[in-house]
């Protein structure tokens, strides 16, 4: 292997690693706050990428219908409860978020052909269509079971994952899509080409991570999420509703997923079921961090990206095997070094 290939593979690994790191952070966040192992994390990557691809192909993405259906369900579920309790002032925001904005997006797509929109607007519309699915799925699938055991929540996650994969096939078809690169700029680094898109992915991921850091360290809502993760009873006594914390972190997880999908859509061909494998690699990173440590999870995920890249050169047939085998020594080391702690509650 010469330096050129080494750099090329490294570049690839860092790009993928950045995406895995984002997903690992989202997984750790969701688990810490809600105890949900969020297997459908990867589906948001695929939905984000494929929704953007559909918009650019001039099609109405199927996510619109899912958004409308889920939004109406949530509005009905919560609306009935609010009416019964006579809390009418909460009705308008509920309807605007769950029905109004989705209807506006859907209507807008029929009025303005999405192909005429500039790229940033297409990205924004894709995010608007995919991100609200996060809190809606939390409301419908997880919130009624919020106090169930980790195992039950895991089973729900598997169900949500399978449902989203099936719907993905229905919405986007079996063919993969790849969107045009955001930028055509290309540099040369020690004889190896360095794509502008690669730099974009790394910079955007880094900015997102910094943004998340500020959210958690500097804002009261971010602190409330951390507090919920640290001490659920304590957080409830402060008036931080578990449902609010859950919806907030599912919104973040969906946004991270969809944004990651949009970032890598020009680099890899995304199929309706590609998200699962991508999410799983983020999960390996999250496991390296013990589903608890954000920096270790992010570093672990970056390591996964590099390992994947280099192993695809040496033993491409075994690339996935090598990446997922990484989890065994990590688990072994973890089970030997950590003391057994009983699960709370």
């Amino acid at each position: 292997m010469d330096l050129q290939i080494l750099l090329l593979l490294g570049q690839d690994g860092v790009t993928n690693g950045a995406i895995y790191a984002l997903l690992a952070l989202a997984l750790v966040l969701v688990f810490a706050v809600t105890r949900v192992i969020f297997i459908p994390q990867g589906e948001f990557v695929a939905y984000g990428a494929l929704t953007l691809a559909a918009l650019q192909a001039g099609k109405v993405p199927g996510t619109v219908w899912l958004l409308l259906a889920l939004g109406t369900t949530v509005a009905l579920l919560d609306g009935v409860r609010l009416l019964r309790e006579g809390r009418f002032r909460k009705l308008p925001p509920l309807l605007i978020f769950n029905v109004g904005i989705p209807l506006l997006c859907a209507g807008g797509l029929f009025v303005v052909p999405p192909t005429q929109l500039p790229l940033w607007a297409q990205v924004a519309v894709s995010m608007l269509l995919v991100v609200p699915l996060g809190p809606m799925i939390y409301r419908v699938a997880y919130q009624p079971l919020a106090s169930a055991s980790v195992l039950v929540l895991l089973i729900v996650s598997v169900a949500v994952h399978l449902a989203l994969i099936g719907l993905g096939l229905l919405f986007f078809g079996a063919e993969g899509s790849r969107t045009p690169a955001f930028t055509e700029i290309s540099f040369e680094l020690a004889g190896a080409p360095l794509q502008g898109q690669t730099i974009l992915v790394i910079v955007a991921s880094a900015l997102l991570i910094i943004g998340l850091y500020f959210f958690f360290e500097r804002t009261l809502y971010g602190k409330a999420l951390r507090a919920t993760a640290m001490n659920r009873t304590g957080a409830r006594l402060m008036g931080i509703p578990p449902a609010l914390a859950g919806q907030l972190c599912f919104t973040l997880a969906a946004a991270i997923g969809a944004f990651s999908g949009i970032l890598i859509a020009p680099i890899t061909t995304i199929y309706y079921d590609s998200g699962f494998l991508i999410g799983l690699k983020g999960f390996v990173g999250a496991i390296i961090g013990g589903l608890a440590s954000y920096p270790v999870a992010a570093l672990g995920a970056a390591l996964v990206g590099l390992l994947e890249s280099y192993s695809s050169f040496y033993a491409s047939a075994f690339k996935e095997v090598i990446v997922f085998t990484l989890i065994i020594p990590v688990l072994l080391w973890r089970s030997l070094t950590t003391k057994h702690v009983e699960e709370e509650e």
């Binding site: 009261l220 602190k223 951390r226 009873t233 957080a235 409830r236 006594l237 509703p241």
Partner: protein, 254 residues
């Protein structure tokens, strides 16, 4: 202490009125037919031995446990499905026995989160409230950047109380504030509870340390095996031979 001449402060508004409260864990009845009343600016104490149901009582009042009976809080009858968050919004706070601090966060962040619900409903006076809390607990100001998990037992109790006060409560419920603390610190904590009374907040104080609790309270209830066995103005309770025998007697370390 002219107030203690009017033990029940009958002219003050009733903050919490509980009638026939019952709590059961499955078929085991933890509380049976408990009734109590707390008025504005009053300290009411519930004393009793370990396992009498004192903590259960607070958990039920706070909406953490389902309960039967009638609870009227701030003039509103409470339904069967009571939500902790709704009660917090209406000024009820609980300082639990285990303190439930956010251990990996700074003292300052713990305090700020105490005002989370006020922040959420549009109030932006957290910094002034925090200064008031620091005035009450100067120790917390010295330790403001320190992680809550590294505090001493007394400081933890102070932080838990300070965090509860950040919500500007109408009813402050304290579960065993003296638990596991050195006598000097207990004295300090009770002095502060006495000061809090002057601000008009109603205080429900659950204690095993009957002597200290009855000294500071206006009214007291004795809870034994899930039922109120005795009730009365705390001075009368402190003089009651049954209370002296079981809770204040020499050599007793309750």
């Amino acid at each position: 202490m002219s107030m203690s001449k009017h033990p029940h402060l009958h002219d003050h508004e009733v903050i919490l009125d509980v009638r026939h409260l019952g709590v059961a864990y499955g078929k085991v009845e933890a509380l049976h037919d408990v009734s109590l009343t707390i008025r504005r600016g009053e300290i009411v104490t519930v004393i009793g031995p370990n396992g009498a149901g004192k903590t259960t009582l607070l958990a039920a009042l706070m909406g953490l446990l389902p309960a039967t009976g009638d609870i009227v809080y701030m003039g509103h009858a409470q339904g069967r499905e009571r939500e902790v968050e709704a009660l917090v919004r209406h000024g009820m706070t609980l300082v639990p026995e285990k303190r439930e601090l956010f251990a990996e966060m700074s003292v300052e962040d713990n305090l700020l989160l105490g005002a989370f619900d006020r922040y959420r409903s549009g109030h932006r006076d957290q910094m002034e409230t925090m200064d008031e809390v620091f005035e009450l607990f100067p120790r917390l100001e010295e330790r403001r950047a320190q992680l809550a998990g590294t505090l001493s037992g007394g400081e933890r109790q102070m932080l838990a109380m300070g965090r509860a006060l950040m919500a500007k409560p109408k009813l402050l419920m304290l579960d065993e504030p003296s638990l596991g603390l050195a006598p000097l610190i207990i004295k300090e904590i009770f002095r502060i509870i006495g000061e809090l009374k002057q601000t008009g907040v109603a205080i429900l104080l659950v204690e095993q340390n009957a002597r200290a609790a009855l000294q500071i309270a206006d009214y007291g209830y004795v809870l034994e095996t899930g039922e109120v066995s005795l009730a009365g103005p705390s001075q009368e309770l402190a003089a009651d031979p049954r209370v002296i025998e079981s809770y204040l007697g020499l050599g007793h370390k309750h």
